[in-house]
């Protein structure tokens, strides 16, 4: 028996945990798709073994998620069973929470399933009224309060349902002495409102005065006994009665309004405002209304309130002024007082600061903007110093409010100046600024500020450095894209700028898909909004440049499409194709093929033929290391923890760019089956871990008649000898696209050991070079147990004469400062991009003891091999 009870209790808990699991996933409604699940829940309610808190929770779940899925017959069964439980449980004072939830669920069931005219609803009303009838019974007061609320729901959904109880309700409300008086009063007010509005065309006569006035007076006389939120429904009911009967005047609210003018409670304040707006000029005098507005505005500055409540009061002020209260501002004194109170302080949060300014700018007479500069001082400083998105969003919201209200030159100038200043330092704010400009353009018919600001931004972008624009192209190109839509903005410079940008991106290895899309968006807008006669050559050059610079097929194809449109279609056709009315439409491809000359045949995609031998050959001619200076420190330079002379040395090193420039000769051998190859592209497939991406090399053509010089520029990321595969692709005389492999490029240890560019590194004097050597040696060979060990040291003995090793390493030798030969010979090799290999060689009879130190230990095996070659050469 005990085991059965435990099992039942466990079932209840399992059902509940299943529900909770589904609640967290947002799928609890699915459980109720199975009708039996509802009855499973109901069964649990009858089980004594199931804990009452579990039962309460099951009922709450049923109420929230299960009721609107029941079939009519099923709903009646559920109602009948719940009524049974209510009948059984309503007297038990120790299960108040459960009975309260039961009443709520049952009432919700009746309402949501439209059972208001059915028998279960009648039974429910009887049960509830029986509970409500126990006036002044203290132990059942919670149940009575809840029963009143249930009856109010039923009365709301079925007006007149409780009209027969009206007199008893009036009596109950007068007699009730506990705190649930409020519930009786709320119920009564609903019943009275429904009675007065009952189906008559002349509602004024629908209910006699002696039935309405005494209870209403009683309600309003006891308004003080209501909670602020509990007063709301009563006030709304009374307002409805005031509007629908002739017996009650709006002045019934006056004592309540005057007493609560100083209240800080959000509900009380709202009630007063609501009544005032409904009966403007009928209850409060002009002076009292001004007092109300003054209280409302000063509420914003009650610093002990929650910030959210202060913000809510600000919304009410905005709404009050927006909804006919604006005439308040006609009075200079009221407007002045409002402006004083609403002027933001340095202590206001950003939200409150912005909202205050939004109200403030609207409070100034139209076209008077003399305070804008002072008003936005705080936000402007914050935005200009930090570039913070939130602060800038706030600033532009205020500027938007200011400009929509005061379309003056001064505001316009302020917008342009602030925008220019912000874009210089914070390009990431460009989307925000463009959104503001678009909002101005769409909201106001006058687009002067839009055009002026956009023109200014456009010039600013064109005068920016290409490196800067490339590093933030996502933002900068949005400006060019927007300005490209403006027919009055000259675009030749834009296109030239973009050509330069694409070339710069190509040389930096930054021609990626995203950049291509951004540039093509500008091109598309140019084609849509400008006469092609003026941009034909420049835009053609840009689009051609994109077809060659970008390796991404999507970008090349899209650039080719635009190029074809530019070259082959009239402006009108071009706009039809690119215009929004066709974009996204299924007919787009057909339209393009129909409109472009020579494009009506579907040629299909070009096939790439891979060939082992094509006769294309190349040979290395030379290798030259090239050192140059960077404008900003390179991220390739590794940083050692150094001090003293070396600190300055490494600062120079950070700005040093080291390139390995290979010259190759490309030729078409005599045995080749082709005479001429065109559109030759050579691509190096170097590992991006070892080298920065090298740009593809393009040649217009090559023939058997002559070879072509090619320059490869490799920028190592680490000094790692490697072999780079090379692919060539070209177009043959019969229009086939062919690819083949060229001899790989070998980057050897000797290629990577360079003479240190002393002058570029600011070390001109030999003495200083020795200092650098010694200090570097000391840093690299510091105690290996030390946590900050930065290099490695190694020793190798080479069997050769001194002059042989000296000849082999002569380029890296540091002559002794005195000019004499020392006991130790020092050699310093530079390993690009920023590593070092230091050798100290001491001669012992016929062998050389080579001590070496480096900050790139992976190179040591290569050094060893290299020294072995000297060794074996002897």
């Amino acid at each position: 028996m005990a085991a059965t009870r435990r099992r039942v209790a466990d079932d209840g808990r399992q059902t509940l945990s299943n529900i909770r699991r589904n609640l967290s996933k947002g799928t609890v409604e699915k459980l109720f798709e199975d009708e039996s699940f509802v009855f499973e829940l109901l069964d649990a309610l009858y089980e004594e073994e199931v804990d009452v808190t579990v039962k309460t929770e099951l009922l709450a779940v049923l109420e929230q998620y299960g009721l609107d899925r029941l079939e009519a017959s099923c709903a009646e069964q559920v109602a009948a069973r719940l009524l049974d439980v209510l009948q059984e449980q309503r007297g038990s004072s120790d299960r108040l929470r459960f009975v309260v939830q039961l009443m709520l669920t049952l009432t919700s069931l009746v309402v949501t399933n439209d059972m208001l005219k059915t028998e279960p609803c009648g039974s429910l009303v009887s049960h509830l009224w029986e509970i409500v009838g126990r006036v002044n019974d203290v132990p059942s007061r919670r149940l009575r309060g809840c029963a009143c609320q249930c009856l109010r729901q039923l009365e709301t959904w079925s007006p007149g349902l409780l009209s027969r109880y009206k007199d008893r309700l009036v009596q109950a409300m007068r007699e009730e002495r506990t705190h649930v008086f409020q519930d009786y009063a709320t119920l009564l007010s609903t019943v009275l409102t429904n009675l007065s509005a009952r189906g008559d065309s002349t509602p004024a006569d629908s209910i006699p005065a002696d039935e309405v006035v005494p209870p209403l007076s009683f309600l309003m006389d006891n308004a003080f006994l209501f909670t602020p939120s509990g007063l709301w429904p009563v006030v709304l009911s009374v307002m409805e009665l005031v509007k629908t009967t002739v017996h009650v005047a709006p002045s019934i609210f006056k004592p309540l309004m005057l007493q609560n003018l100083t209240s800080v409670d959000p509900c009380m304040l709202h009630i007063v405002l609501y009544i005032q707006k409904a009966f403007q000029g009928e209850i409060l005098t002009a002076e009292e209304e001004s007092q109300l507005l003054q209280r409302l505005t000063s509420g914003v500055n009650i610093l002990t309130l929650r910030p959210a409540q202060r913000l809510l009061i600000l919304q009410w002020i905005k709404a009050y002024l927006q909804q006919g209260g604006a005439e308040e501002l006609q009075e200079e004194e009221t407007a002045g007082s409002l402006q004083r109170v609403l002027h933001p302080t340095v202590f206001d949060s950003l939200d409150i600061h912005v909202d205050k300014l939004n109200v403030l700018t609207r409070s100034y007479p139209t076209d008077e903007d003399h305070n804008l500069g002072e008003d936005i001082h705080y936000l402007k400083r914050l935005a200009l110093t930090t570039g913070n998105d939130q602060a800038t969003v706030g600033l532009y919201r205020v500027l938007f409010a200011a400009y929509t209200h005061h379309q003056t030159q001064r505001v316009s100038d302020a917008v342009i100046k602030i925008t220019q200043d912000l874009v210089v330092d914070y390009p990431h704010l460009i989307p925000l600024i463009l959104d503001f400009l678009l909002a101005i353009k769409e909201t106001l018919s006058d687009s002067t500020v839009y055009q002026a600001t956009l023109s200014s931004l456009h010039s600013q972008v064109l005068s920016a450095r290409q490196a800067e624009v490339l590093s933030h192209f996502r933002f900068y190109l949005q400006v060019l894209s927007a300005s490209a839509k403006q027919p009055h903005i000259q675009q030749q410079k834009t296109i030239q700028f973009l050509v330069g940008l694409v070339r710069y991106a190509e040389s930096s290895g930054a021609c990626d898909w995203e950049l291509g899309c951004a540039v093509l968006t500008v091109c598309r807008n140019l084609l849509l909004h400008h006469c092609s006669d003026y941009i034909y050559y420049d835009l053609g050059e840009l689009l051609f440049e994109m077809q060659t610079s970008f390796s991404d097929c999507d970008i090349r194809n899209r650039a080719r499409l635009l190029y074809a449109l530019l070259a082959g279609a009239s402006d009108e056709k071009l706009r039809d194709v690119l215009g929004s009315k066709l974009l996204g439409g299924v007919v787009l491809s057909q339209n393009i093929t129909n409109m472009l000359t020579g494009s009506s045949q579907n040629l299909g995609k070009a096939e790439v033929i891979h060939m082992e031998k094509t006769g294309l050959e190349w040979q290395r001619v030379s290798l030259t290391p090239v050192f140059s200076s960077l404008e900003s420190p390179s991220d390739l330079v590794h940083s050692l923890h150094v001090t003293g002379r070396l600190e300055s040395y490494f600062q120079h090193l950070a700005y040093l760019k080291a390139e390995l420039v290979y010259q190759y000769t490309l030729s078409l051998s005599e045995t080749s089956e082709y005479e001429v190859l065109s559109a030759v592209s050579v691509r190096l497939k170097a590992s991006t871990e070892t080298f920065t991406p090298a740009p593809d090399i393009h040649l217009l053509s090559i023939s058997k008649l002559g070879s072509k010089e090619l320059t490869l520029r490799l920028v190592p990321r680490v000094p790692q000898p490697s072999v780079i595969d090379v692919q060539a692709m070209f177009c043959t005389e019969d229009h086939s696209t062919v690819s083949c492999l060229l001899d790989p490029v070998g980057v050897t240890f000797t290629d990577l050991t360079l003479t240190l560019p002393w002058q570029e590194l600011g070390v001109d004097v030999l003495q200083d070079r020795h200092c650098v050597f010694d200090e570097l040696w000391a840093v690299l060979t510091a105690d290996s147990n030390h946590a900050r060990q930065q290099g490695v040291e190694s020793v190798k003995v080479v069997q050769c004469a001194t002059d042989r090793i000296h000849r082999a390493l002569n380029a890296f030798h540091l002559p002794h400062p005195s000019g004499d030969e020392g006991i130790v010979d020092k050699y310093l090799m530079f390993l690009p991009p920023s590593y070092h290999l230091l050798l100290q060689v001491v001669a012992q009879s016929n062998k050389q003891v080579v001590s070496m130190a480096t900050d790139y230990w992976q190179i040591l095996p290569c050094v060893s091999n290299y020294l072995n070659t000297i060794d074996s050469a002897t």
Partner: protein
Amino acid sequence: MSVRCVWIIHLPGTPNKAAKVLFTRKFPTVEKQAKRASGEGYVGVLPDPQMARLLVQEVGFGPAGKKFVAERDSCREILQKPVFKIKTDEGEIWPLVVLQQGELLLCCLPLVEEQTSNDNNLINIPTISQGFALLSSLAEALRVPSQEFATRLTEMPAFLNEAAPFGCVRDTCADTVLAKLTNRPVTLHKTDKQAAWKPLLHRGKSSIYLGITEFIRASQCNQEEMRDAMEVYGSVLCRAELEGVSPDIILNVSHAPDSPSIALDQLTTHPCVLSADSMPLPDNKASAGVPAPRRIRFSPPSENFTLCHYSASHLQELPIFGSYTMKPEDGKLQVSVLLKLSDQIRNTFDYCELQIPLLNGPPVQSVDSSPSQGGVTVSPDRRIVVWNIGQKFPNKTLEVSLTATVYMGDKSKSIAASSPEDQFCVGLNSYCQLYFMVPEFTHTGCHVDPRSVQVSPATKFKLTTGREYKSNDYKIWNSLGEALTVKEK
């Protein structure tokens, strides 16, 4: 007039984590009403996980965080905080009232019964204030020690059944709702009428506690073109344990003898106040001798409550005048602070501490300091230099000073401040902040006159009064840098 749904959401610790819905309460009868009112424009609430994700994004805690999001931040979007709107595939869900308390996001969706097209006027929607008040009461109920939070959360269904059955908000005081849930017996006389906001009646010895907490906020710039800003404000807190259903209390908020007499601008009051001299101070009365006492008559609720709030805008002198200079020098900061206490202020502090936040940049490695009194330490996160000044300024000079060299640590551990105000503090832009509390003192001189307190019906009671004066956001800007200020009118 009801709310359609209530959510309690736990905000994620980091923007990339998902928010978790701790509690939801839906009201099917209100949802049916919403369908009837909106017709074809009805947009249902989303399942909890989606709702939480969109809400968190809308209030700025999502993955996009504080970055510009056009759908939310565009100038075209009407700003109605704390009322928000979220966009779903079916349409917009509006008006969502949102309140944040620590890691909790409390939210409800009030029912809009009669909304005309494009009418987003918040005065016309009664449930906005009800929803806001309901969330405030939930926040109050959930403000418990962390170990009690889970238990309190399990009480939320009962709490809402009592506070808002069928979503109809009827009580928004957390204390009274919790008291109603206990259903303790009360004895009422035939003539009594118990207020809905006072469900329990006190039995036993009578006592009244009246305390004033006054705050000062200040921003000192020490720059010619910018004026210092300061604000003094406070509130009177009350707890009245008196027998009877509706006892009345009358008291005067006046100015204590031998203390500053700065007039209070006006009073804003609790709904239990029956009458009060709360009118705004006329401009010409600001400095005309000792201001008249302000009389308040009220019928107190059972719980602690704030009887009234006040502010005082006619303060002439700062309580502590400060001068702060900070100069960065090659990995260290040279700092100098001088503080002078006004002779109008009681020279006894519960605590007095100066903090120099260094929130942008590397952490503090060490501080070499020589304060004229007290001790200097660094906060555990090594972002704030703290000078504990002690309980008293020197009686003779009323001045204290600090010179210090702050050595900054590893630059690689630099962080950027999160709030825009703190991001402003770069280079020479810097401020220090003063935290102090003076017991039994108010700067305005106002107090509750114990002799004026009367209770009706007359009864014996124990009266306790208290005052305290605290700083709140008391900044002194580096005189060598820029200050974040507003231009005064």
